[in-house]
Point group: none
Chain length 249, copies 2
Amino acid sequence: MLKEERQHAILNEVELHNKVLLTDLADKLNVSVDTVRRDVKELDEENLLVKVHGGAVSLGFANHSPQRNNVYALDKKVAIAKKAIALLRNNSVILIDGGTTCLELAKLLPTNLKLTCFTISLPVAMELLRKPNVETIFIGGTLSRDSQISMGPSAIHALSEIKVDYSFIGTGYVDTEFGLTEFDWDVVQTKKAVINASKKAVLLCISEKLNSQHRFKTCSLNVINTMITELEPWDTKLTPFKNQNTQIL
Amino acid sequence: MLKEERQHAILNEVELHNKVLLTDLADKLNVSVDTVRRDVKELDEENLLVKVHGGAVSLGFANHSPQRNNVYALDKKVAIAKKAIALLRNNSVILIDGGTTCLELAKLLPTNLKLTCFTISLPVAMELLRKPNVETIFIGGTLSRDSQISMGPSAIHALSEIKVDYSFIGTGYVDTEFGLTEFDWDVVQTKKAVINASKKAVLLCISEKLNSQHRFKTCSLNVINTMITELEPWDTKLTPFKNQNTQIL
DNA sequence: AATATATTTGCATTTAATTGCAGTTTTAGA
DNA sequence: TCTAAAACTGCAATTAAATGCAAATATATT
């Protein structure tokens, strides 16, 4: 039996039942478990199914909801959030963007810290409501299905009417030359408004996003007052960013 | 049984009933309570549900404990939500209030129905984002910690600028004489704005709230175009409400 | 067709993940 | 405050995954 043929059969099986056990497949296809495992691994790498411990599930069945990937690089995000929190004082007025790093910031806010927090992110808002000393104001707008943030003209207009002490923002990509960039045009427009709504913009960014870029530009690096990564400020990976007038924490 | 499969089943169960006991899950899935506990812990870390002592609750019902009867009368709320959905047409523009009955409405919206939905409720917004054919607009404002809705002047102002086909609202108390009443002053102000933001106001209200009142008045009954309860319209409990010019479903 | 080369497959071994259980600590609710 | 139920911890047994290697099979080239 050809590999091609076998993988086709595996895909059919997965599509049909949404889940498959490697042992069942091996049995049905008369090959060893190792072989099906390798097949499934390949199919997974081609994003045709999702490999899980003991078997595979169809793409539709897999839980890759917007919230799902949160666990990724959590320790780094926690480190970043802690540095960001050190900037805050009682009665600070801040604005928190969407994204998993910003969500981590919201989660880790000390319960005794008195704050006024604006946000455009639904998950961040949920977290903020759990903090007894935080007054939370949600910036309304059209909600984006995958990033779960307010966007569009009404969000941008609402943002144009505020000026907070700090905005904490995330970004898809950052580069010394191209600055902050994103995959999505609407997101860029919204982030611009977020940055303009603050006296100081603080970028929260895990180091693996450094030196990467995409289609649309949010702003140049020099618009960012402070950049926080999980690295020590003297880490060599950060040296290209030191020529800018952005503080690095 | 695959772990993925089990976690999927757990999520389904939580979505369906809003709450779930670990012991019940263990029983149903034929695994130990420890295993279920570990699964639920993972799902919680991925923000797909909220783990609580003894079980788990859906994201919308966070803050409530599973044993406590805050999610009570679910079947009645489902019945009400279904009647409300029957009013909707493709391309309807609606506004959904907070509260558990309205949340149930959001959950049960058919996935093929094209809608534009405004809402002031964080949990409702979360649910709406899961509907592929619903455009969701969140009305910004100061968030209330316990009701998880936008309130205050900016929410009221934003509401003053829209006029949707239907608003679906909940209430704390309702009475033929005093109309709709609430415990909280700010909530009343917001609900007034919600009602004004719609051509037709639809009250979703389980029968046990009938003939009860509290401090602050939202509006008289005759401001409400349609009142939906879980009862049949000819039920004797509804007779006192029939003298009004409110349609009863 | 024959040979050389590359790929695929199965097996043994090591490594890692999952699960249930027992004992202890913590929690919720009376 | 007290008590029963639930959560956590460490542990052992089971099961799956990864790795290296040799045999088998497929592919390409002459």
